[in-house]
């Protein structure tokens, strides 16, 4: 019998209506439907959620850790992008 690893899936749970789905963890499954069932059995046994998303991990387009400096560092010295950089002039209402 050949032992092939099932693909990895990421699981996202919406804990209550109105909140967004949050990453809960990952699991292995042979197909999409099984991934959903496994997510239900693994992550929502104690009423943790009202909605589930599963997505194959290899379908997620992720940023490259090696490019962190090019991706994120340039934002660090641009404090004028934060609203707190600006002083609110006296007498301005409704800002």
């Amino acid at each position: 019998m050949s032992k092939q690893e099932w693909p990895l899936y990421e699981v996202f749970i919406r804990t209550r209506g109105g909140l967004s789905h949050r990453h809960a963890g990952s699991l292995h499954a042979a197909d999409d439907q099984m991934a959903l069932d496994h997510a239900r059995d693994t992550y929502t046994r104690r009423s943790e959620g009202v909605s589930l998303w599963v997505v194959r991990s290899d379908r997620i387009i992720a940023s490259d850790p090696a490019e962190t400096s090019a991706f994120f560092s340039p934002a660090e010295d641009k404090i004028y992008r934060h609203p707190t950089f600006y002083e609110v002039p006296d007498g301005v209402e409704n800002l």
Binding site: W6, L27, H28, A29, A30, D31, Q33, M34, D37, H38, R40, D41, T42, R45
Partner: protein, 252 residues
């Protein structure tokens, strides 16, 4: 036979089905092929045992002799268990287990649905609770049957053999005994002829999707509902009951 007696025996039989199937699935704990499937199986086993507790407690109350759920599960002899032969069948390989689950759960779900409309309020409530759990069990097992049947040549052949082997235990589900008839007549219980037709239709759908063949007409085994069980049942009961019988009243 008074209707109340029939109700008591009927509820006890429901408890036996749930208890014995739960015990069979418990045997698989720590033996599943994948971690996620392990969790699913243990959940299912505990669902059945939870249902057995509800049925047994109610049966013990109806009996009114001071017995409780544990007495029903652990202190009755083998020949007083009136579960279907199907649920006591050994787990075999993974495909055998899944086929047994599809065959039984498809019937059980329809039975519970019908029982939610019966005139005994307490039984209807228990059935409503169990129905939600079993609806998911059926879905899980049916998907596995489809996956295995429509999978590789090997998995297809193996699971077809499972279906052929277990088929002869399906007739018993729909052959009404005196308790079934009393439930139907006095408590608006399930009509097994109606259930049989629905079960067949649903199975045909799943089996077709799994690219499998429903077995043809065959001689059906029966006796479970009368307390006459298959050989493996004695071992199951022995393992299930040894602790309470050896250490009466043991607790932790």
């Amino acid at each position: 036979m008074k209707p109340e007696q029939a109700l008591q025996a009927y509820v006890l039989g429901l408890g036996d089905n749930a208890m014995v199937l739960g015990q069979r699935l418990i045997e698989l704990v720590a033996a599943s092929p994948e971690l996620e499937e392990e969790l699913a199986n243990a959940n299912f086993a505990l669902d059945y045992i939870g249902q057995a507790r509800l049925f047994y407690s109610y049966a013990a109350e109806l009996e009114g002799k001071g017995r409780g759920e544990d007495d029903m599960a652990f202190l009755r002899p083998e020949n007083e268990f009136r579960n279907l032969l199907l649920v006591e069948q050994p787990n075999g390989h993974f495909g055998d287990t899944m086929v047994r689950q599809v065959l039984f759960d498809t019937y059980y779900l329809a039975l519970l649905e019908a029982l939610t409309r019966c005139s005994d309020e307490r039984l209807a409530e228990i059935a409503a609770r169990a129905e939600k759990e079993v609806r998911y069990h059926v879905r899980h097992a049916a998907q596995w049957l489809i996956r295995l049947g429509d999978g590789t040549e090997e998995s297809h052949d193996k699971v077809q053999r499972s279906l052929d082997d277990l088929w002869r235990y399906t007739g018993e589900m729909f052959s009404a005994d005196a308790f079934d008839e009393a439930m139907l007549k006095s408590f608006n219980g399930p009509d097994l002829d109606v259930l049989a037709a629905g079960w067949r239709t649903e199975l045909e759908r799943v089996v077709a999707e799994a690219t499998l063949q429903l077995p043809g007409e065959t001689v059906m085994a029966n006796g479970g509902k009368q307390g006459r069980h298959t050989e493996d049942f004695g071992f199951l009961i022995a393992e299930m009951q040894i602790l309470p019988r050896t250490y009466p009243g043991a607790a932790w």
